[in-house]
Structures are given as C-alpha cells and as structure tokens.
Amino acid sequence: MLKYVLKRLLLVFVVVLGVTVVTFSAMHFAPGDPAEMIAVARYGEDLTQGEIEWVRATEGLDAPVYIQYLRWLEHVLHLDLGKSQITHEDVLEEILTRFPATLVLAISSLILSLLIALPTGIISAIRKNTIVDNACMTGALLGVSMPNFWLGLLLIWLFSLSLGLLPSFGYGGIKHLILPTITLGTSMAAITTRLTRSSMLDVLNQDYIVMAKAKGLDARTILLKHALKNAMLPVITFVGLQLGFLLGGAVIVETIFAWPGIGKLLVDSIYARDFALVQGCVLFIAVIFALSNLAVDIIYAYLDPRIRYEKK
C-alpha cells in the first residue's frame, strides 16, 4: 500500500512539472509580445519603445525561454510564485486569498450533488425500468445537457430578478452561496446520478448478490451490506474525477456570480494577459487537482480490500 502511494506521488510530481512546462510554453508561444502587453496594461497605450524594453529587461523577458522557465521554477521551489506583472501584488498571496471562496463553493456543491445523486441513483437502480427510474434518468440527462452557465442565468433571473429572494452576485453569507451552489451542484449531480445507477446495477447483477440471496438474507441487508460498498467504489473514483469538473465549473459559476474565487482570478488574469498570475493560478489548480485525485485514490485503495491486501 505504501509503495502504491509513493508511486502515485512521484507521478503527481512529474505530471505537475509537465503541466508547468506546457503552460509556460503556451504563454511564450502565444501571439503578441509579452513585454509590450504588460507595458500597455501598466502604462496605457501611449508607449515608447524604451518603456517596452525597460519592461522586458526588468521582467527578465529578454532571456531565452528555457532560462525564464528555469528561473521561474527555482522561484516556485522557494514557494515564490512571483508578482503579478500588472498589479505587482504577490501571486501566491492573491491566490491564497481567493482560494477559500472557491473551496467553500466546491465543498457545498459537492455535498449538494452527492445528496441528490446517491439516493436517486440507488433508487433508480433498485426500481430499474419503472416510472421512477425513467423519470430520474431523463432528469439526469437533462441536467447533463443543460449548460451550467445558462442554468446560473436562469436561476438569477428567477430568484434574483423576478422574485427578489436571493442576491445575484457577490460573496457574503449563506444567501450568496445558495444560487452558485445550486448551479454547480445540480450539474454535477446529474452526472453522478447516472453513474451511481449504472454502478449499482452492475453490482446487483453480480453472482455474490445472488449468493447473498441464496443464504436467505433479506433485501435490506443485501442492499446495504453487500451491494452498497461495492457500488460505491467506482462512484468514489468518479467523484474524484469530478473534482476536475467542479474546479472547471467553478470558473464559470464564479464568473457569473462574481464569486471571488480562483476561477474568477484565472479568467481575469487571462483577460489581462497577466502571465505571472496565469502561470501561478494554473500551477496552483494543477497541484490541488492532482493532490485531491491522489487523496481519492488513496481512499479508494484503502476501501477496496483487493488493493489494500495483497494476495497471499
């Protein structure tokens, strides 16, 4: 088990490194002169060549790309993600300030989605091909197909603008959290419901379930003890995968609701061509994503005896 964890950690490291290389290259092969863009952002359109060159020199943009990368990497290893090229604020600090907002949104959405998806998926599986099942699955399909940005706007229109019940943007109390959570949570719930159902169906078809019945156990015991644990294993993995969806969805939801999280930070910094900030956000998101996937994998490995205990 330990070997497994270590191997995965190494993988995370390699992959995150790869990610940074990719984003770094993407930025430097993007059209436009970074020095010029930064100068424009800072000082406005009316520039002299000298000012541009000055920016280039001070930001170290005159060195070859790989040197820039290595320099950046070195800084990162000292936990220094540099400064925003436009606002001069410390990148890491910016990110860390925003992160809690995203975390709150992500966790509440995750909880909402599991609260909806797990019971629905399980009940759909047990009552396969009945009206309940068909209704739930159609609902789930609708949820999957509905763009979450549209859903967010609809919710704002309904609850904010028409009914005036909830605020449509900002970060404050529970009231501000509700609409963003519903937006993000329900789209994730749709996918998770389908998966829970199919996982449960797979399990219910297994021989060991028939065997449990052959022992004379009742439906409740069979479901809760024999079936559930097996069915949850792929769901756990999937929830892990969905963390990516959450982070991605958070970007959109944060933008719509002006929720001050990392997602919004990322989008804003891309607009502004603030490379340092973009690079920092990307790195941060990749690391968080990788680590949470790793955590999910470890939890899975712990729960599945086939991985936890090796064959004698």
Binding site: L11, V14, V15, V16, G18, V19, V22, T23, A26, M27, A30, P31, G32, L141, L142, V144, S145, M146, P147, F149, W150, L153, L154, I156, W157, L161, L195, S198, P234, T237, F238, G240, L241, G244, F245, L246, L247, G248, G249, V251, I252, T255, I256, L266, V267, I270, Y271, V278, V282, I285, A286, F289, A290, D297
Partner: protein, 285 residues
C-alpha cells in the same frame, strides 16, 4: 455487415436515440439551410429596433443591437455543429492512433504517451481550454485547437485499453500463424473492436465539445461577437437579463436541445453497440 444492420435496427427501436437522431438531422438541416431559413441577416444591426420582445417579424425578438435573434440562433447552429464535428473528428483520429500505438508498442512509447495523457488530464478540461484559447486569442481556429488539445486523451485511453486486451488474445495466435503480418493483422483485429466504442465516445464527445465551445465563448475567450455563436449570445444577454430575458433564453435552449440530442443518441449507441465504453470512461489507470 449484417451485425451493423441489426444494431441499427435496435437503435431505431430505442426511443431516445431515435429522438436524438431526428433532432440532429433537423439541426443539420437548419445549419445547412440557415441562409434560406433565416428571415433576416444575422449580422445586420438595426438600432431603432433594439430589444424587441418576440413578435411576428422577429420570432425570437431582437438583441441589444437590433439584430434578429432567431436568425442569429439559426446561424449559430452552423458554428456549433462545425466546431463539434471538427474537434471530434480530429481528436478521435489522433487519439485513436495514439492509443493504438501506445497499446501495441508498449515500452517507452507507451510511457511517454500515457504521461502526455496524464498531463492533459491533470487539468479540468475547461480550464486548460480556457488557458489555451485565452492566450492564443479569440477566433474559430483557436477554439478548435484549444478543445482538440483537451479532448484527445479519452480516445487514447479507450483505444489503448482495447488494444491491450486484444493483443493478449490475438497476438499469440497471429504471431505464430502469420508471423510477418502480425502488425497488419492487429490492425484488422483491433480496429473493428475499437470502432464501436469510439463511435459512442465521439457522439458524446460532440455534445461535450459543443457545451465547452459555448462556455469558452461565454467567457469571452472563444468566438467573439458579432459572429452569432450561442455562448457569446448568452454573454451579451447578461446585462439585459431583467428587461429582455429572451436574449438569454433562446440561445441557451438551443444549446440544451442540441447537446441533449447528441447525448440521447450517444446513450442509445452505447446501449446497443458497446457497454464497455462506459467502463473505459470510468477507468483511471
């Protein structure tokens, strides 16, 4: 070939996928014949007729620059379908080839390709697409590129898994019997096995791509106005959400119907063609 007919027949009997297929045909029709179906020029501004609610002349109303929303929505079908199909065709081809190579060759080639897959998947796909599209700038080509870069790994993983399982079965026999042509034989054995799951993945992929493209445009990083794209239309409608919600309603519902249709079809295909595709999607290693 007989098998295909039976599968198609079963597919037809599956109500949902039939509905999906019909809607898709309808959408393709709309896309092709948009110039004939649209009552007005989608780009023509008419500042005197801004933000009109849906009426006889403008079935979906007019937007903030007086353009006919209905016409814009119709033309938007073209762009969305185009992006969806192009991205999926590219990624399916590239992803499948990479997957086949990776599975067949094994060794360091496999390692490299799998690490590349891991790197791309180290990111939520929207974010990666965001970054790429954002940095490269707006425009159709960049959107396609950004989405293609993020979508190929699913095919690679799928095909690699299938290749590995076929390799174990057929390889030994093939290698013994026909030695020199084992490469060719694997092509003939792997490919038929892969086509079905890849088709399923591709259909669902079109759905996913269309939403992603709309999301990118919605964030202002994809297709820009004045080009009529559903996502950017949604974005443009935000300031008028209270006064003119129809700006956001119609493009949004078009996205949903389109994506729903492909999802219906994809689900139906999956049920009839290949239950394994689902497992492959869920497998992480």
């Amino acid at each position: 070939m007989n098998e295909r007919w039976i599968a198609l027949k079963e597919l037809g009997e599956n109500r949902m996928s039939a509905v999906g297929a019909v809607i898709i045909v309808f959408l393709v029709f709309v896309a092709f014949f948009a110039p004939y179906l649209a009552p007005h020029d989608p780009l023509k501004q008419n500042l005197g007729k801004r933000l009109l609610a849906p009426n006889g002349e403008y079935p979906f109303g007019t937007d903030e620059l007086g353009r006919c929303i209905f016409s814009r929505v119709l033309y938007g079908t073209r762009i969305s379908l185009e992006i969806g199909v192009v991205v999926v065709v590219i990624t399916a081809l590239v992803g499948t080839i990479l997957g086949g190579v990776s599975g067949y060759c094994g060794g360091i080639v496999d390692e490299i390709i799998m690490r590349a897959v891991d790197i791309v998947l180290a990111f939520p796909s929207i974010i990666l697409a965001l970054v790429i599209a954002g940095l490269l700038g707006p425009g159709l080509f960049n959107v396609i590129l950004a989405l293609a870069v993020t979508h190929w790994p699913a095919y690679t993983r799928l095909v690699r898994g299938l290749t590995l399982s076929v390799k174990e079965k057929e390889f030994v026999e093939a290698a013994r019997a026909l030695r020199a042509s084992s490469f060719y034989i694997l092509r003939r054995h792997i490919l038929p096995n892969c086509i079905n799951p890849v088709i399923v993945l591709a259909t669902l992929g079109i759905a996913h791509t269309i939403i992603s493209a709309a999301a990118l445009s919605f964030l202002g990083l994809g297709i820009q106005p004045p080009t009529p794209e559903w996502g950017s239309m949604l974005k443009a409608g935000i300031p008028y959400l209270r006064s003119a919600p129809f700006l956001t309603f119609f493009p949004g519902i078009m996205i949903m119907i389109t994506v729903l249709a492909f999802n219906f079809l994809g689900d139906g295909l999956r049920d009839t063609l290949d239950p394994r595709a689902k497992e492959m999607l869920m497998m992480r290693k």
